[in-house]
């Protein structure tokens, strides 16, 4: 047996285990009886979260924490503003009523195209902005919609599961949006953890009690 476990094989095995450990696993969808479904954009007026964004660029890790304000404006446009507690704005994003995205303001340290693209995609999946036609499965537990690459799958709340996943073409989890229990499917959750399984990137959101 030891003959088979040469150092190179052990390294390969370790790499395989590491990759398997990092991936989000496969999302098994047994029911394939998809029907057309009208997936509405998330309905909300205002949410204030404490927010933590963690990631890495190359070998350098970064972490930002602060307050994240999500708001639908009177004209129907959506804004996401991330500030630190002391008052400096990290970024301010806007989607107009036609779904056009705009960076209103961003700090130099966050002004990186891949980071903006990732944040934009995550919020668009959460808000259900710029979506193509959706479908619901036979037992009405899942709604899916096609993305540029792969699909977004929304759990509808049956068995209390209301998480969201972005799946690649092989139905492997690329991103998981894990919601607080009791989150409304139609709106935004009280807390949320977004994990990117193939990249070292994540967002944590927790509602700040409205005692102001």
């Amino acid at each position: 047996m030891t003959n088979y476990l040469k150092p190179s094989s052990l390294i390969l095995l370790c790499c395989c285990l590491l990759i398997a450990g990092c991936s989000g696993g496969r999302y098994v969808i047994q029911d394939r009886n998809w029907q057309p479904y009208d997936l509405e954009p998330a309905a909300f007026t205002r949410h204030l979260y404490s927010c933590q964004i963690n990631g890495s660029a190359g070998i350098r890790k970064y972490s930002f924490s602060g307050l994240l304000l999500v708001k639908e404006m009177e004209d129907g446009s959506k804004r996401v503003v991330f500030q630190n507690e002391i008052g400096f704005t990290f970024f301010d994003f806007e989607w107009d009523t036609a779904g056009m995205f705009r960076v209103v303001q961003i700090q130099e340290q966050m002004n990186k195209e891949p980071l903006i693209k990732t944040l934009r995609k995550d919020f668009e999946v959460l808000f259900r902005v710029n979506f193509s036609a959706a479908q619901i499965n036979g037992d009405r537990t899942l709604v899916r919609t096609r993305l540029q690459k792969g699909n977004a799958v929304y759990e509808t709340g049956k068995d209390d599961k209301k998480n969201i996943y972005i799946l690649d073409e092989k139905e492997r989890k690329v991103v998981s949006f894990i919601m607080a229990a009791g989150a409304p499917l139609s709106g935004l959750p009280a807390s949320l953890t977004i994990t990117h399984h193939k990249a070292n990137f994540g967002i944590r959101l927790k509602t700040i009690p409205s005692n102001n």
Partner: protein, 211 residues
């Protein structure tokens, strides 16, 4: 002639802005500088409660948070947000640590970043009253019967990209900080009011430990 009219308009507007808060400009600030310098010699530490009010243009209501603030000579500041979220910032001789609402602690060396260095310095200077020596800002002073109002406009591009100005208000009797107002480029305002300020209470160095 146009330049003269612009200058007069600027002076009038500036004077009106000062006067609106009941403050009149202090033309010769050397006397005020000396007062602060003398006071600093005798101030080893400060501690107080604070209430922070954040006015965001996007929100109709303000975000109010509360906590405790500590300063110890030299260059040590601790800002401890306790409600409605936990957030702890410690500045200690070029080191900065942040512990966020999730309990995650991040430590950084502000000497590696010009922006962080400037923020570190301005926070320490505002708390300690040592702001007259900060060359990163253009400083003007006004006063009313109770307070000195010190307006700080950033000079450097790093700070200009972060905020429009900082206004600091000091109690005229004891020269302790009463209030600090940070105005961002987009007009958002963060107002920190300090209450029950106590000096020289013998703060332990452990409070300012960043690691």
């Amino acid at each position: 002639m146009k330049q003269l009219i612009s200058l007069l308009a600027f002076v009038t507007l500036t004077f009106t802005a000062w006067s609106q808060g009941g403050y009149t400009p202090v033309p010769d600030i050397n006397g005020v500088k000396k007062q602060f310098a003398d006071k600093m010699v005798h101030t080893q530490s400060l501690e107080s409660s604070f209430t922070q009010t954040k006015q965001m243009k996007l929100l109709k209501e303000n975000i109010v948070s509360n906590g405790r603030f500590y300063y110890k000579k030299d260059n040590k500041v601790r800002i401890d947000y306790q409600s409605p979220y936990n957030y702890l910032v410690i500045l200690n001789n070029g080191q900065m640590s942040i512990t966020d609402n999730y309990g995650k602690k991040t430590t950084m060396n502000t000497r590696n970043s010009k922006s962080l260095q400037s923020i570190n310095k301005v926070m320490v200077d505002c708390m300690s009253g040592n702001i007259f020596t900060n060359s990163d800002f253009r400083i003007s002073v006004a006063k009313n019967s109770k307070e000195y109002h010190i307006e700080m406009i950033p000079n450097t591009s790093d700070l200009k990209s972060l905020f429009k100005k900082i206004d600091v208000y000091f109690n005229q009797d004891n020269l302790y900080i009463n209030k600090m107002v940070i105005t961002e480029l987009n007009g958002d305002i963060t107002d920190m009011k300090y209450t029950n300020v106590k000096a020289n209470t013998g703060l332990h160095d452990q409070l300012f430990k960043t690691k």
